[in-house]
């Protein structure tokens, strides 16, 4: 076992929220700009047809939107005539189950017997009477439709483009492609799988040269699985894109992304401190959707769980209740690299987790979870080893809750309000644990310890975890207001005095006696813990001002209990007794 840091660094390392910014940047969602309408195609019927603005287009598109009776008569006649000449041919006839009385014809445009790529008309009818017609057709053009290249030669050339293992996934077909910047061209097109990609490729049907291609792989939400820090397997909501899986949750309402710095501390500092942009290439990724990096697995999963807890318990939509993006950062320094870093790096990027509302690229706000130190090391002072911080569900929930506070009460991060800020993060962290985990002791069990899943006692006399809500004094925290620490260190003891409010929360649920005052509390019981959670949430998010004191917290939580459960309700009595027991009036 090796000693790794000085006692000064230990203090810093134990502060789970060193970078707790207060400023926020508002997001500015982009608004789509509608395309400008352009004059009608004079060769087309006089219905609502528009050529989109494409200044360099050689062949303009004829855009059909007919929903009123006059336009429908005009365009129905147009469609019917072209069905007769073969310029339009039925590609499919469907019924929407939601409107079974309607028939939807999808009609493919042809030019001298060759389909025109992407040109089609959709006619929605009821009992043979058109209700709506939409289309995207090419205006009149001339093109030779007899290819000089044979189909077989086109297939060979397409396969050659895909490499040695290439296969054609669909039959190669002759088509006419309209293009925005050049004359329409006659092409063979096929879907080629090769080089790890799946592309639709277009070849010039006369000389065989490649004219264009695009990927046929479309992104989609996917569910992966991975093994977390504690060895448990959990699901991950990710994005499948171009044959890889990215830690980009597309199933939950907010943008929820987990980035992997891949041990590039310089990049981590640039992003967090200087607002350098994050790119898709920075996202944590996995090739087979069976994720193996425990830091990424637990950070991505636990943040999602915490978001879910807030939604399910309180109906809250994330950080700001408006689904502000949640950006999670991991892997700034590896465990193996930890012994070589400086003390300042150690306390911030190795033995730490933080929320910083003012950090990161616009719109701002990042969560960071460090990887901890090698299993054979321990931290001086605490005598504990720290593993991947994301592996502890309560630590993840604690940090995200700082973001919630930033968007609500904005409790000032010093003295009593700072201690309440910390306490609220601990309270929600423990609540999340009890929401997902079975009560008990040991890894992945719900209890009233903070950080115990990754903060493990090594030296004799040390304890698992960083704080206890049941008995704050075990970790050097006061359990009674008369023991309030007023030392200016730690912003006036924000991580120390939080024990008073933490213990009040514990007593309101579990009941029992305060060890200092000896006063007993009739808790609501574990089965009713949701009541106390809702009381504290309402008070801390909606009622308390930024400079709240413990006394304010007492009054706000009692008021919240009355609001939610009525005067003299069991939750109100429990909360009142709990604050009294910890000496807060």
């Amino acid at each position: 076992m090796k000693v790794i840091v000085t006692s000064a660094a230990v203090t810093a390392a134990l502060l789970l929220s060193l970078e707790h910014g207060l400023a926020q940047r508002s997001s500015s969602p982009r608004t789509a700009t509608p395309r400008t309408a352009t004059p009608r195609d004079t060769s087309a019927p006089a219905g609502r047809a528009q050529r989109p603005r494409t200044p360099s287009a050689r062949v303009a598109a004829l855009r059909i939107t007919a929903t009123n009776s006059a336009d429908l008569r005009t365009w129905d006649s147009y469609v019917t005539q072209r069905l007769g000449t073969g310029e339009l041919r039925a590609r499919s006839v469907d019924r929407d189950p939601a409107m079974p009385q309607r028939t939807v014809e999808r009609l493919q445009a042809y030019h001298h017997g060759v389909p025109v790529w992407g040109s089609e008309v959709v006619r929605d009818s009821q009992a043979g009477v058109p209700v709506a017609i939409f289309g995207e057709m090419a205006a009149d053009f001339a093109i030779e439709t007899q290819p000089r290249l044979t189909l077989g030669e086109a297939e060979r050339r397409l396969l050659a483009l895909g490499g040695a293992d290439a296969t054609l996934l669909k039959a190669v077909e002759l088509t006419i492609v309209r293009h925005e910047t050049r004359e329409p061209f006659l092409a063979y097109t096929g879907v080629v799988s090769g080089h790890g990609e799946v592309n639709r490729v277009f070849l010039d049907a006369n000389d065989g040269s490649e004219l264009m291609r695009y990927t046929e792989i479309q992104t989609q939400a996917a569910t992966g699985s991975g093994r977390g820090v504690l060895g448990d397997t959990k699901k991950l909501s990710v994005l499948q894109q171009a044959g890889a899986f990215l830690a980009d949750d597309r199933r939950r309402p907010p943008v929820l992304t987990t980035y992997d710095f891949r041990a590039d501390l310089t990049r981590a500092i640039a992003v967090v401190d200087n607002g350098a942009p994050l790119f898709t290439s920075d996202l944590a990724t996995d090739a087979d959707n069976n994720w193996t990096d425990p830091a990424v697995v637990d950070a991505h999963a636990h943040i999602g769980w915490t978001y879910d807890y807030y939604f399910r318990r309180f109906g809250r939509h994330g950080l700001d209740d408006r689904d502000r993006p949640i950006v999670v950062l991991t892997n700034a320094v590896t465990q193996q690299g930890a012994p070589a870093v400086s003390g300042s790096v150690l306390s911030r990027w190795v033995i730490n987790a933080f929320w910083c509302g003012a950090c990161g690229p616009s719109p701002g706000g990042v969560l960071f979870f460090a990887n901890g130190i090698p299993p054979t090391f321990f931290v001086v002072g605490s005598g504990r080893n720290y593993s991947y911080f994301a592996g502890a569900l309560d630590i993840v929930a604690h940090e995200l809750t700082h973001g919630v506070t930033d968007s609500s009460s904005r409790l000032i991060y010093q003295n009593e309000s700072g201690a309440l800020n910390e306490a609220f993060s601990d309270i929600m962290a423990t609540s999340v644990e009890f929401f997902y985990q079975q009560p008990g002791t040991g890894p992945a069990r719900a209890d009233y310890l903070l950080g115990e899943d990754i903060s493990r006692a090594v030296l004799p006399g040390s304890r698992d975890g960083d704080r206890s809500m049941e008995n704050p004094a075990l970790y050097g925290q006061p359990d009674h207001y008369t023991r309030l620490v007023t030392d200016p260190a730690d912003n006036g003891g924000v991580h120390i005095n939080s024990g008073i409010a933490n213990h009040a929360f514990y007593l309101a649920i579990e009941g029992g006696s305060n060890r200092t005052s000896g006063l007993a509390v009739q808790g609501v019981g574990a089965a009713n813990r949701a009541q106390i959670e809702r009381v504290f949430y309402r008070a801390f998010v909606f009622l308390m001002p930024a400079a709240s004191t413990f006394s304010t917290a007492r009054a706000a939580t009692i008021q919240a209990a009355r609001d939610l459960y009525g005067v003299d309700s069991a939750p109100e009595r429990a909360v009142t007794q709990a604050w009294t027991a910890v000496g807060v009036q």
């Binding site: 189950p97 939400a221 569910t223 992966g224 699985s225 397997t233 959990k234 699901k235 909501s237 199933r251 939950r252 309402p253 959707n289 999602g304 769980w305 879910d308 939604f311 399910r312």
Partner: protein, 262 residues
């Protein structure tokens, strides 16, 4: 469908070949020698019928497939519907009352499936959502070739009673539910059945046929008739997930149509 059609052509050709083979020539010769004593019932009999097959036996299937990093399970209870078909058969008399024949029936029916699905949650293990729904109009195609020993009993000059039985060779094509589509929204505690995804599977087996027919002839060679027959075979179809689902093919069939004898 193309496979069935192709098979039908092959089987039809086979029947014609049986009718025109040297063996057939011999049995025709035998019938000829014995046909002089009673009514002129001919030596070769043909029946061309429309057919109605009553509802067959229901069956069930369960498939599992990967969904949201877990196994989804879909249980389907299939109910067969009755439906129309086509029947053609021919026979050659070996003696006055005994013949051998071959027939072909094709049944195009459908089935419905009551579906119960267990769809894994996208975020959590062991928290499946249950979806219930129904899939209708699931294709069922049965093609059967019957080899028959026939007993032929003329009643007067115009009525001909026939009973028959023998082995049958079935090919069954059935649409089976392979997965379900559903709608869901955050937090995904519930999923609502949208539609079923089906897969056509096909297999062949041997069964039996037995039945009777009553023909009325307007002339020496042409008549009409009705009949009833029961055909049955158990087919082990490959379920979409690779398992096996036993399906009972055939059933009780009512036929009616043209009767020819030569």
């Amino acid at each position: 469908m193309m496979a069935i059609m192709r098979r039908a052509h092959i089987i039809t050709a086979a029947i014609v070949l049986v009718s025109s083979s040297p063996v057939a020539a011999q049995v025709v010769s035998a019938a000829t020698t014995s046909s002089g004593a009673g009514p002129a019932i001919g030596r070769v009999h043909l029946s061309i019928n429309g057919m109605f097959q009553t509802a067959g036996s229901d069956f069930q299937d369960s498939v599992t497939y990967r969904e949201n990093a877990e196994d989804a399970r879909v249980d389907s209870e299939y109910s067969m519907k009755s439906g129309p078909g086509f029947d053609i058969s021919g026979a050659v008399l070996l003696s006055r009352h005994l013949g051998i024949g071959a027939g072909l029936t094709r049944f195009s029916g459908s089935s419905t499936a009551a579906i119960t699905g267990s769809i894994p949650h996208p975020f959590f293990f062991n928290q499946p959502r249950t979806v219930n729904g129904e899939a209708g109009d699931l294709k069922r195609e049965e093609l059967a070739v019957h080899i028959q020993v026939r007993g032929v009993f003329p009643v007067g000059q115009r009525v001909l009673v026939t009973i028959f039985g023998g082995p049958s060779f079935f090919t069954v094509e059935q649409a089976l539910v392979s997965s379900v589509r559903y709608t869901e929204s955050y937090p995904y505690d519930d999923a609502v059945f949208d539609s079923a995804v089906t897969e056509d599977v096909e297999d062949s087996t041997v069964g039996v046929n037995i039945g009777g027919d009553l023909g009325y002839f307007f002339s020496r060679q042409v008549g009409v008739g009705v009949g009833a027959q029961y055909t049955r075979a158990n087919v082990d179809l490959e379920s979409p997930d690779g398992g096996t689902v036993e399906v009972k093919a055939g059933g009780f069939q009512i036929v009616g149509g043209l009767r020819l004898r030569f």
